[in-house]
């Protein structure tokens, strides 16, 4: 894992004291709320439906056990005993007191964490593949490049007041596990014909009220031009992005309105200019970062044998583990989606337990996924049953990864001041209704957003649900056919919306159409793409 150098630590520590002073001045009245609001947002502190909410950055979703333990301790010490893992691989606390927020940031700084740039019109937390460094199919570990981008984007003076927020994802395998093409910039590490590693740039994707899939604008940017090219992409956006209309201010609108070719032309022009300015950090900086992400000391010759005689363990292994690049090891995923539970929530005790497991069984490392789950990236198979027993004793062994119960859901109207409808109760009802049929249905990614901002990624769900406000009454639209993987697609609305109970019935009708029509090993998405919307609409509305 990356370790702060003295500059990193000094920047974070200085920011804590700066915010402590700003908070003091707000409480004593020196600062009005209009003056304080942008300052607290720059430190991840929102005023939400019930209280202040603090969003803590987890760069590319990677945490040490000490960091994870601190997240659990903060939940106990400053919040109400739990945290909420988000679709940006971060964590949020829902019941923060303003007067204690600087102390939380100070505690975070002791484990090299912060909440900087988790809000506002700046470059947000860089996200990545949750299986980075462990996946069999990756070209390289994408995190050193994400870390370089993190350093470049942190406090970048030119990009702290962009037209709108800006999200970047970095992956390094053809299996996109980070919804890369639904980001403002998606970067895939690739190899060219000469065998050199470089970056493919996809620009102008996003969800929200105008979902778009990012087009490829440059198939190969050399490693020693990564920052310069990123800077060019941002400069063109910063110069011409719409500041007159927040609903048209994301880069996806600029790329769409200019056209991919014209946007790319302007980027290349700016890139050529920037190359003359020498802004690229020396490759030595990247070479300094890369060893932090070196493979841990895997045990050579570790056994691949697993005793699957315990049926509950066997089901969890089947559903919640992923092949590792190292023989004798496996990637283990903790579903934070217990049947009828709140997606992404974990108690302080559960968070600390996962910290202990990361320390004892995964080389001191765990990951947050954009699907609101937790990953132990490097688990020796010989330890897997013991690990599972510890999870099982803490209600963390739900075996439903990528199934209909593994629902992404935003906090919705239960917590969020922007939401139009509640997401969590719908997720809970679907989780309970379909738990008995989960194995029969197989892979089905269901995602729920409580408003058009799409924090629950509903556009990218095989089944998506969007909560809307119909004259003060919650109403839910159903979408089918979305995907966020290598085959990224946007879901299509089936038709008129439903009540809270009605949407659960509609999901059941959709899954029944799938089960009646599936061929071979088809997933729900495959069947939908083969037979189209019509049979689903007929079943749902006919």
């Amino acid at each position: 894992m990356y370790k702060y150098d003295s500059y990193d630590q000094a920047m974070v520590d200085t920011r804590v004291e700066e915010f402590r002073d700003q908070t003091r001045r707000r409480i004593d009245g020196t600062l009005a709320e209009e003056q304080f609001r942008p300052l607290r947002l720059q430190n991840g502190l929102y005023l939400q439906l019930h209280a202040y909410m603090l969003r803590v950055a987890v760069p590319y979703g990677t945490l040490s056990s000490a960091q994870m333990r601190m997240l659990g301790d903060i939940a106990d010490k400053y919040d109400r005993g739990y945290g909420h893992f988000t679709t940006r691989q971060n964590i949020q606390y829902n019941w923060i007191k303003l007067e204690e927020a600087p102390d939380i940031l100070a505690d975070l700084a002791t484990v090299e964490m912060h909440a900087i740039q988790t809000s506002g019109n700046c470059i947000r937390n860089i996200s990545s593949d949750q299986y980075a460094g462990a996946a069999k199919d990756e070209l390289v570990d994408p995190r050193p490049y994400a870390e370089l981008l993190r350093q470049w984007s942190s406090f970048h003076p030119e990009f702290l007041a962009l037209p709108r927020k800006f999200k970047i994802a970095v992956i390094a395998s053809d299996t996109d596990r980070a919804a890369m093409r639904l980001h403002d910039i998606g970067i895939q590490m690739v190899k060219n014909d000469k065998g050199e590693i470089g970056c493919a740039f996809y620009v102008g994707g996003g969800m929200g009220r105008t979902p778009m899939i990012a087009p490829l604008i440059n198939p190969f940017v050399p490693l020693d031009q990564l920052i310069t090219y990123s800077e060019a992409c941002l400069r063109v956006y910063n110069r011409y992005g719409r500041r007159d209309n927040k609903y048209k201010a994301r880069i996806k609108i600029l790329v769409h309105e200019l056209g991919k070719e014209e946007y790319t032309r302007q980027v290349e022009e700016e890139f050529a200019h920037l190359l003359t300015q020498g802004i690229e950090p020396p490759l030595a900086e990247l070479e300094r970062i890369i060893p932090y992400f070196a493979d841990p000391a895997f045990e050579a010759g570790a056994s691949d044998d697993l005793d699957l005689s315990d049926p509950d363990f066997a089901l969890w292994v089947k559903n919640n583990t992923v092949a590792h690049k190292q023989a004798g090891y496996v990637i283990a995923v903790v579903s934070l989606k217990p049947v009828g539970g709140i997606p992404g929530d974990a108690s302080a005790d559960q968070i600390r337990l996962m910290a202990d497991i990361a320390r004892d069984y995964s080389f001191d490392e765990c990951r947050v996924t954009h699907a609101q789950n937790i990953v132990f990236p490097h688990v020796k198979k010989a330890d897997l049953y013991t690990l599972w027993q510890k999870l099982d004793a803490a209600d963390l062994s739900t075996a439903n990864l990528d199934s209909i119960g593994d629902i992404i859901a935003c906090p919705g109207l239960d917590y969020c001041s922007l939401a139009n409808a509640r997401s969590i109760p719908v997720a809970q009802k679907i989780s309970e209704r379909f738990a008995p049929k989960q194995e029969q249905i197989g892979e089905l990614k269901l995602k729920i957003s409580g408003c058009i901002n799409a924090c629950g990624h509903h556009h990218a769900g095989h089944i998506g649900i969007l909560g809307v406000d119909r004259k003060g009454i919650e109403n839910y639209q159903l979408l089918l056919g979305g995907s966020e993987g290598a085959d990224t697609s946007l879901g299509q609305i089936t038709g008129p919306g439903f009540s809270e109970d009605g949407i659960v019935d509609a999901v059941e009708k959709a899954t029944n159409v799938y089960l009646a029509n599936k061929e071979g090993d088809e997933r729900f998405l495959d069947t939908y793409r083969r037979i189209g919307m019509a049979p689903f609409k007929e079943a749902i509305y006919g």
Binding site: L47, L49, R80, N94, I96, G472, I473
Partner: protein, 98 residues
């Protein structure tokens, strides 16, 4: 009727104007009448409340009920964690929201 709400500056807690000060309980809210803007300006300036605004509500036999579901959830707490709401001992409290 028009009632007033906002958040406690230091704690962020949802609060309601009760005629004399600010209460955690929407049941204590009072009609603000024509004085809403004046009250909010005074209370914001004194830092008794933060991010305040006027809410439409109605007086029902069970007490004051904000017209919009968002305000009813603010008044109660998250419907999915009633243990964290203002009525943790009332398992059906969430029905008031809907």
């Amino acid at each position: 009727m028009k009632i007033l709400t906002g958040n406690d500056l230091k704690t962020g807690a949802v609060i309601w104007w009760d005629g004399q000060g600010w209460s955690l309980h929407v049941e204590d809210a009072v009609e603000a009448g024509d004085h809403a803007a004046e009250i909010l300006a005074r209370e914001e300036a004194a830092r008794h409340v933060n991010s305040s605004y006027v809410v439409d509500a109605e007086q029902t036999p069970e007490g004051i009920r904000p017209n919009h579901i968002k305000e009813r959830i603010r008044a109660l707490g998250p419907t999915v964690r009633l243990d964290l709401s203002l009525k943790p001992a009332e398992p059906d409290a969430g029905n008031w929201v809907i």
